[in-house]
Symmetry: C2
Subunit: 200 residues, 2 copies
DNA sequence: CCCATAAGTTATCACTGTCAACATTGGAGC
DNA sequence: GCTCCAATGTTGACAGTGATAACTTATGGG
């Protein structure tokens, strides 16, 4: 007979719970300890239960990384510059949103670009990860057709922008771009310099 | 009596051997397994021997990261543009040297900017790590005084350059800047765009 | 020559990822 | 409504890891 005070034998939606618990742990970011057993413990489930939903620790991490790319993609596409419709404003808005996502979720962001997420290449080349690249590309294409940006290879430009944003994000996360060392607002300075290198 | 065929009880220079072995393992980069015990095994020493020279696994990693920064610093300072002395050439030479260092030593480079190297902040803020930042800054200052570069806050410019190079390096290491996806030479394109954003 | 101490070893602990064997349950088909 | 199966969860085990303690060896300054 089922004990009414204890949780039922079958959890019901353990897969989601595991991911959410793991995300929460990643968010706490305590020195990058991330044990599968601790996830199970926090989810109130035995240490082997996660293996019924993920073949591997790496599989769970890969799943989380992909969710991170989805989240980042949404953060970039839902950003709306306040009033002006100028490409410059949009460029800054997207850039700030990107870095803000990273600094708000440092553990997740690190995971997304870490080799730990299984065979990293597979994760990164996933459509969901490339969607982020697509947002930048689309923005640049519009800038080129509007005549605001120089007409160069747009993939190269997009790679440049991505590298700049990724670099700024990582250096911020790792506390390398300390404000007192590097000036008042390194991000805006970086975005401005980058934009001016792209503009006509 | 000492057995002449076996290694002597005291290794003699185990600290150096450990670091070199660990560096070699990092260079092989086989999926980022990095076991202290495996290091000891390869060094032909018992699994607890490294603890006589490093208090921690993190301490060894931190030491290696610092050596990496030294190495990167040397790579940047010893680069000599072939003939021309123009700042543009030097800028490209330094940028290429930076990314080349990262792609040539992906494991080490990842470690240098990874949170795993102990309290990462301490490592990064070390004088030896900031020396790399200094190389960029010095180059920019010269460019500004020569009137080639815009006279803006040089720390912000240096941060921008560092972020660009770091981002390009990481995206290359993680196989994200695939040539076929992104154009013929994303690095040169990025450096050119960056430079044009800095120039007068 | 002696012996304190640095430097290496073995043994052990708690913990992890992973797997196999077992237990429980919800639900599809009769 | 009953039965059985597959999905889901549990327990127990194994090898491998970081770390520490207790022990052993050799080296060099007095």
């Amino acid at each position: 007979m089922p004990n009414p005070t204890s949780r039922p034998y079958h959890h019901g939606d353990l897969r989601r719970t595991i991911i959410e618990t793991a995300m929460a742990m990643l968010h706490e970011d305590k020195g990058w300890q991330f044990t599968l057993r601790e996830v199970a413990r926090r989810a109130g489930v035995s240490h082997a239960a996660p293996y019924k939903h993920f073949p591997d620790k790496a599989a769970l991490l890969a799943e989380m990384a992909l969710l991170g790319f989805d989240s980042l993609h949404k953060a970039l596409t839902t950003v709306k510059p306040k009033k002006s419709n100028s490409l410059r404003d949009e460029f800054f808005a997207v850039g700030r949103a990107y870095v803000r996502f990273g600094t708000a979720n440092p553990g997740l962001y690190r995971l997304m670009f870490s080799a730990e997420a299984g065979k990293a290449v597979d994760v990164h080349l996933s459509e969901r990860a490339l969607a982020v690249f697509g947002v930048i590309t689309e923005l640049l294409v519009r800038g080129q057709t509007a005549g605001v940006l120089r007409k160069r290879d747009v993939r190269g430009q997009a790679a440049t922008c991505w590298a700049q944003m990724h670099g700024a994000t990582m250096l911020t996360i790792e506390s390398l771009l300390l404000i007192e060392k590097v000036g008042p607002d390194p991000l805006d300075a970086a975005l401005l310099t980058l934009l001016e290198g792209l503009e006509n």
